[in-house]
Symmetry: C2
Subunit: 109 residues, 2 copies
């Protein structure tokens, strides 16, 4: 979402840090979908209905650079590319489940 800012004491807030990682509009939903197993580009495009290929591509690239997902490409025709969560990405699933739990209560009430 934005560069993490330091507090006045020079330390960085871990909450803001996490927010800056998953703050993008689609980022969290991508991780949510990868939490249930590896997916191909087109699968994600469908499950995240409404996302444009450009945006999906950008988000995937960022997440890969941050070490949250990994990209496996196969030299086949037609091409096949598979995305999955790294360990760092798996750790985020706890956050997502926490949010899911909150969202459920919100929707049920």
């Amino acid at each position: 979402m934005e560069l993490t800012k330091s507090h006045s004491d020079g330390t960085v807030c871990p909450v803001a840090c996490t927010a800056s990682i998953i703050g993008g509009k689609w980022t969290l939903l991508i991780i949510r979908d990868l939490a249930s197993g590896l997916k191909r580009f087109h699968q994600l495009e469908r499950s995240l209905s409404g996302i444009s290929p450009k945006t999906l591509s950008e988000r995937l690239r960022s997440l890969e650079e941050e070490g949250i997902i990994s990209r496996k490409m196969y030299a086949e025709v037609p091409p096949r590319v598979e995305y999955s969560l790294t360990e760092k990405g798996q750790d985020l699933v706890a956050v997502i489940e926490c949010m899911r739990s909150y969202g459920k209560r919100w929707l049920c009430k």
Copy 2:
């Protein structure tokens, strides 16, 4: 962040729901700061260094309308207004603590 979208089966994803609530740039940090107790407008302005009064005002108003924070105004001069988390807001603290835990691991690594 954005209106929650329905899945193809008509249900709403709780993860997306929560994301839409706390997705704004400053929203999460406001709740983080209120988690440690009630705060006045100017206190928040200082702890969220960099936020403009306009934005803070807007975010506070939204959060109040969503029932996440409550606003108490005192008929004094100079005026005093106190913001605090409602029960619905307190529930979000779990999400924040989850994000804090992840952020810490990220920063320590």
